[in-house]
Symmetry: C2
Subunit: 245 residues, 2 copies
């Protein structure tokens, strides 16, 4: 059976302006890979309802799971929950269980749980809450869409909360062999290896370090023994490559 | 006149597996912001022709400029150029000017410019080459799509090569004021400020540092004097917020 598939939707003008470097995608990608869920697509859109709706509707129709990051706080630019409700065509309002969770943050919730903070208790009809052990304000799952916070520490905690609820597949294992020569030196031989091993997937990830061109060859598969064979073959090949200009 | 719009397409299984953290998007985003070009969407897809074609065709129809990163090297998994040609429905083959540029890399091009490396001279019909001062192998522009390398040092150099060819708009300026209290403390007041300043755009970017919740408020606009006024107003507001649990 093929592994379940997934998409990530990062929401936030601050990523598109270059102000903030997204690291949530990398974190989620690593966790999904460990759990045998194939992350197939990532999108980043700004804080606009139409953009969020269009992206969510495109992705939830195409992949087993969708994960979003960002836009669920108390400020005017936090419009993710309302946009998700609109994408699903369901009502959204303050929900009592979410309000009760938020209230535990405050000594004096009647005053401190103000109108702005109550926005974080707005949950679309039919959603399940996602636990937030860091700052309480919950995420939620609606259908196959998991809506989580953008602050990395909170996003990480929410991902850990939902991982046990996801149905994973066979974890994709990988081995990496470094070639200290430019890709063009070994690309032909590598193509032959790729053709002989259709059950494995090979990638070549070039780099420049101190002015020297090299590449990491990564071979991926689900069978550990086959990966060890593949690694050995790549190591023989790497040993045959002298460093070259 | 509204600013031109842009999308970035990052191509590569290594980003989706979590092995490699994409930093090219952040670099491009910063350059576009400086040049008054609004980056509106980013997508990341794997090394598959259908995925690349679908994304490129969706993005090039929607935005003024599209920029891609990754998949233009000499190995079997470098399929970007062929996928772009397929997306545009144009032929692709080794082009003499691109081959001549590659040949300058080698003392003995008849031997060293092997079949694998010649893949890097495959250019879709009608494209213009993009200069690569780092490692010679060119990128290309076809229509509004700029196809560039994934290795950050090479991507950066290619972006610098094309920036003078892009028509920019009014650079978006920004000012940041830090609030050392949780967003919920000031979200109501901030909404009033947002409503009073429709010519500016405000974002609130929360963080957790050493267990303390705070937020950076960023105000953006094209008029420097207006931004200074807005900054002063935010500073007054920030000074009125005591640190709070």
């Amino acid at each position: 059976m093929p592994n379940p598939t997934a998409a990530m939707l990062v929401i936030g003008d601050e990523i598109l302006s270059g102000r903030t470097q997204d690291t949530n995608t990398g974190f989620l990608a690593g966790k999904l890979t460990e759990n045998g869920i194939d992350l197939r697509e990532v999108r980043v859109v700004g804080d606009g309802q139409d953009e969020i709706m269009d992206a969510v509707n495109a992705l939830r129709a195409r992949y087993t799971y969708v994960f979003t990051s960002g836009g669920i706080g108390p400020t005017h630019d936090d419009i993710t929950a309302d946009s998700i409700a609109a994408a699903f065509g369901v009502p959204i309002d303050v929900r009592e269980d979410a309000r009760a969770i938020l209230a535990t943050n405050y000594a004096n919730p009647e005053v401190e749980l103000n109108e702005a903070r109550l926005r974080m208790a707005r949950i679309p009809d039919g959603a399940e809450l996602i636990d937030n052990p860091v700052s309480k304000a919950p995420g939620f799952r609606l259908g196959n869409v998991h809506v989580m916070a953008g602050v990395p520490m909170v996003f990480h905690a929410m991902v850990e909360s939902i991982l046990p609820t996801l149905t994973g597949g066979q974890p994709l294992l990988s081995e990496t062999v470094r070639f200290n020569v430019p890709e063009g030196e070994f690309a032909g031989k590598l193509s032959e290896i790729v053709a002989r091993n259709p059950d494995l997937s090979y990638g070549s990830y070039p780099y420049v370090r101190d002015g020297v061109f090299g590449s990491n060859i990564v071979v991926r598969g689900t069978d550990r023994a086959r990966l060890q064979e593949a690694r050995a073959e790549l190591e023989v090949m790497a040993a045959g490559q002298g460093p070259s200009g």
